[in-house]
Symmetry: C2
Subunit: 109 residues, 2 copies
DNA sequence: CTTATTTACTCTACTCTGTAGAGTATTATT
DNA sequence: AATAATACTCTACAGAGTAGAGTAAATAAG
């Protein structure tokens, strides 16, 4: 592809990582997206998207140590890369520009 | 799919239709997206996306009469449906919610 | 009128993104 | 040893993004 696209779901996943902060791992990211978008998110969709975003170089991850709780498996923590932040900023800027001046039209249906 | 996704490009195309208004047809829509996003848009991508959006019921179209100019073929004019406006509003609301509070973080990279 | 030019749109083909169902791995508890 | 809880993976397929090349229909030029 000439220019890699940032899908709506990928966008939400990336924003969730920023919002959750240092504790951003699979489950907490899913919960953040669900809480803010009102949609349900399957684990498969989330983890696959996380892997793809990492392959594109927009996020990075690190496997941590297990935690001492029942089922406390090792978690993989995620964070944005500089390239990811740049891409997110671009996408946001374009949408804000396009929305500008027509918000009323859209909001009033 | 449980819930149809609205891709980034689809989103831009729909917004361009609103922005251009009554004269929204293939070429003017492409120009509007290019002018506001800074990216180039191929005709194939635009027309295929327009067709897909219409199949999903988010936009509607009408073939008009030819205009009296060289190459003035009949144009197909596009407009949003109520469902399209609703979907656009939802997507915008979710993104604004997610961006809320982290705009600074994103903007400062 | 036949060819060229312009504008608008379509076909085909392929990669990337979105999604879920089911399964695996690793940890603590009973 | 069996059970339960948490975190993550595999497989498969439909939907979205993209471009190269082609078609269609209009006016203009010769």
């Amino acid at each position: 592809m000439a220019r890699q696209s940032l899908g709506e779901f990928e966008h939400l996943i990336m924003l969730a990582i920023v919002r959750v902060g240092p504790d951003a791992y699979g489950v907490s990211i899913i919960e953040e997206v669900e809480a803010n978008s009102g949609r349900s998110v399957s684990q498969a969709a989330a983890y696959l998207t996380l892997r793809r975003l990492e392959e594109k170089g927009w996020i990075k991850s690190k496997l941590a140590d297990p935690t001492p709780e029942r089922g406390g498996r090792a978690k993989r923590y995620f964070g944005l890369t500089q390239a990811g932040i740049k891409r997110l900023r671009e996408s946001r800027a374009t949408l804000l520009t396009m929305w500008d001046g027509i918000a009323t039209e859209i909001d009033e249906g």
